[in-house]
Amino acid sequence: MIGIRNTWANRVSDRGMLYLFLLPTFILLLFLVIFPLIWSLYLSFCEYSANTANPPVFVGIRNFAFIFQQREVWDRFIVTGKFVAMAVVVEFFLGFFIAMLLNREFYGKGILTTLFILPMMFSPAVIGKFFRFMMDTNWGILNYILGKLFGIPKIAWTTSYEYALPSIVVADVWLWTPFIVLLSLAGLSSVPKYLYEAADVDRASGWFKFRYITLPYVAPILLLAVLFRTMDAFRFFDLVYVITEGGPGYSTQIVPFYIYKLAFSYWHTGRSCALAYILLIIIIALSNIYITYLNRLRRT
């Protein structure tokens, strides 16, 4: 017992340990997240271009005023909204359907489920790039299969105004439907079996069982999934970058990609920071809901 007490490690107090354990994490966050955020807040009130030697000039809220007046900024938000709506709706129904099918006992269930879930682990940039190849108008395999099986004439997937956004949706659906499958499966397996048995005794219809037993148990998790996917669509632009590069015209420029363009192609650093901050506020609002929801799930 004496031996335990006399080491330096035993003199570390609980409080000391708390600081020792948390400090590295928060120093890193301070240095690489919080500090850049404060800096970009400052820049969002400045007229500044990062590729010139001129220092930032404070211009008040002019950047924000400019953004709100610009029709093209609103257009980007509309494109983002369209993309989120299309992608999430398809993923939701397809994913839930697959999960319903998977939710039964059979030999090889584990492997089959993991294989269905695989695509979501892949890099969107890599997959997107390959989808572009498969969706080529003339020698892409997608048009070939569509033509052979359904007699559909060749579609200019990634290069036409009508189909550019849907092609990104296709890739996004392929990548993220598994996410809905995964969460739906978790929801479905949380439904107590005896409820179904009781319903069987009462000769309830399949629809009744689905509506009054399955759905209430799965709904919270599905809501979580939809929220997560919505947030995601506001954050990343890999798919757009590799599949259409925002084109043709501006038809696939979702907001994060537009910010990237503003900052690193047009070099409107100040303006891009302002727009980034608007996006950030949207994301924080969404993630607030998300985390509140997560914590409620944790407690139950």
Binding site: L20, L29, L37, L112, A125, F131, L286
Partner: protein, 295 residues
């Protein structure tokens, strides 16, 4: 047929339907493999060649410049293959993913323990700050980060990318590890504390080893996420420290694209992810909900 048998038959039909759907669903991966192992001519031929002789040339050309036919003696001069940029980028990917994963998992384990077991003032707010660092769009902090990195000489260095990825994974690791520590019975420490160990000792002697499983799961997740990361690598690196993913997306993407190369490179990037995903098994759901839902 009684009720039981009818259910059996229905089940079997559904499983067959599932297998067919899976086949259709994973077709792009099959096509990636087939494009990677076909000759340039075969890769573009329509109707597609369903039977072909697999060849490794694309893979070799991804790694070595001056491969493809020019190897050996050309006009009496020995032609040696030179390692390609992709080989270096793959090396960067490996180094950066592994180092940042180890750092993030270790720091995340420490913080996760504190958040799970100890009283921290403003705990919920701190946890929110941690998680929102993960939720924010990379492009938002990327703008000042690029300037900061250039000023500090961190731009286009592996070290710069490593610390960025550590932060990027840290949020996830903290939440994940907190949920794993929640699962460890509190009696372990209580017994150690009664024996006269300090909390600090008790942690390293008894709790830390118990966190193994959680740390492995967390580490695999971070590995996959760093391996796949695109935005930070695209913006914070140039020639030297760039990882493989943005280089597949980027440098090969101009006119006269050699899709066989891209398919081969992509396929190489996808393989480790498949392995890791199978290793994760039942922890998938937990990872994607930041520890909120357990299987």
């Amino acid at each position: 047929m009684n009720e039981f048998q009818r259910r059996q038959v229905k089940n079997r039909v559904i499983v067959v339907v599932l297998v067919v759907m899976l086949g259709v669903y994973l077709f792009p991966i099959y096509w990636m493999f087939s494009t990677a192992t076909k000759t340039k001519l075969d890769a573009f031929s329509l109707p597609p060649k369903w039977v072909w002789r697999p060849q490794a040339e694309n893979f070799r050309n991804v790694f070595y410049v001056g491969g493809g036919g020019a190897l050996g003696k050309v006009k009496g001069v020995e032609v040696k293959p030179k390692p390609s940029a992709f080989l270096r980028q793959l090396g960067n990917s490996i180094v950066v993913s592994f180092v940042s994963t180890i750092l993030a998992t270790f720091l995340g384990a420490l913080s996760g323990y504190v958040f799970s077991r100890m009283k921290v003032r403003g705990k919920d707010d701190l946890l929110f700050v941690v998680l929102s660092s993960r939720m924010l769009p990379p492009v938002v902090i990327a703008i000042p980060l690029v300037m900061m990195y250039r000023a500090l000489g961190l731009f286009d260095t592996r070290f710069g990318l490593i610390i960025m990825y550590t932060v990027f994974n840290l949020a996830f690791a903290v939440w994940m590890m907190r949920s794993f520590v929640d699962d460890i019975p509190i009696e372990y420490e209580e017994a150690a504390l009664v024996d006269g160990y300090s909390r600090f000792q008790a942690f390293f002697k008894f709790i830390f080893p118990e966190m193994r499983v959680g740390m492995v799961a967390t580490a695999i997740f971070s590995l996959i996420m760093t391996w796949n990361e695109f935005t930070f690598s695209l913006l914070l690196t140039g020639e030297k420290a760039r990882t493989a993913v943005p280089s597949i997306a980027h440098s090969l993407g101009t006119a006269g694209v050699n899709w066989g190369h891209i398919a081969a490179g992509s396929f190489l990037m996808v393989i480790p992810v498949v392995v890791f995903t199978f290793l994760l098994g039942g922890n998938l759901i937990r990872g994607f909900t930041f520890g909120a839902i357990k299987e």
